[in-house]
Symmetry: C2
Subunit: 216 residues, 2 copies
């Protein structure tokens, strides 16, 4: 009942309940993504063309576009928005909102990173290196932001379209993105969960009085 989540860690011969059509679709989708990741690792992002991807994935170029609207989407498509939402809804309603955010964010990070560290690293690396990917990522994060708006509204009885809620949500996703870039820029040396924790602190309480001396 959740094709998005099923679509990721893929052992080729499970999901017997789906029709052959669906299974093939999932398979080509993965083939395209795998081919893309491989080619990017070999040649870099810009040097990798859709034709090459299509060739290695053994589909036609038009098929690639039928599965992913843009080249950036092949790398980015985040299937965790619905998961995040689900997680968000599962929290007790009387939990203070900042706590909820912290919990859900941490959980999401844990999933996204632990699930496939290689991919997470490549993604964040591209996030820093390739402007087009960064832009696309910001786009998708603003979508996530809108989702947060809905969640906040649901829980606190606010108007999801109010300026305050939208700004708050935007600063959340923006901070998360910045943390990701920071992580990648420094060669993924830091513990991502720690970065996330510090990020949420800033968003909750503003800048701390002074930096606790930290030069690597």
């Amino acid at each position: 009942m959740n094709p998005m989540t099923a679509a990721r860690t893929t052992s080729p011969a499970d999901r017997p309940q789906l029709g052959l059509r669906e299974r093939k679709k999932i398979k080509t989708r993965e083939a395209i993504r795998t081919a893309t990741y491989a080619l990017i690792k070999e040649q870099g992002y810009d040097a990798t063309t859709i034709d090459q991807i299509a060739e290695r994935a053994e589909v036609s170029p038009s098929t690639v576009f039928r599965y992913f609207p843009t080249k950036e989407d092949i790398v980015l498509t985040d299937e965790w928005d619905p998961i995040l939402l689900e997680e968000l809804r599962a929290r007790p309603v009387d939990e203070p909102w900042p706590d909820t955010v912290r919990y859900v964010m941490l959980k999401a990070a844990r999933m996204g990173v632990k699930d496939d560290l290689e991919v997470a690293r490549l993604r964040t690396h591209l996030l820093v290196q390739v402007p087009a990917v960064r832009s696309r990522m910001m786009e998708s994060m603003s979508v996530t932001g809108r989702m947060f708006c809905g969640a906040i509204a649901e829980r606190t009885g606010r108007d999801p379209d109010s300026l305050e809620v939208r700004v708050y949500a935007m600063s959340l996703v923006g901070g998360l993105l910045e943390a990701s870039m920071y992580w990648a820029e420094r060669g993924h040396r830091d513990d991502f969960e720690d970065l996330l924790d510090r990020t949420l602190n800033v968003l909750e309480h503003g800048l701390p009085r002074q930096n606790p001396g930290e030069k690597p």
Copy 2:
């Protein structure tokens, strides 16, 4: 000494101190932008091609690209980053940081909007309507964010590359962007300075307890 600011409200025959070359450059730059704005108003963004812009501006298409790296940049190029920075530096060093931000942001908004309301409206309209423009805008805002990082570091003796500073800066520009979109989405009915004020409140103190009932 500030070509960026000089480049905007343009009466054709001032700036006598610049060489002929510079004056011509500024003139074609403006011609391209004017042509673009006009065409977009007539036909919309996507339907307007570079060739059309070049034709109306009476330059060759290649020249258009020599002046603006992408089509979106013709509409967006914000010449106020340096102004903002200057304004920021002009504030007394002992002023509390949030106050400084508020002052500078308001000033910037006042400039950007009052200076040419027509253009400000068109820009924010495109911001909402055209994904490519939105992306490009986000890109440029992240540049502005880096600038803020520098300013914060300068004033507070912090490391401009620290996670905390970067997250803080990002949430600032993100909030500003969201406010702009909110403004445009609601048909520019609201007072932009008021929106900005509310935005900064959220960023400073988080979400207010409850929405003071506001349905227009």
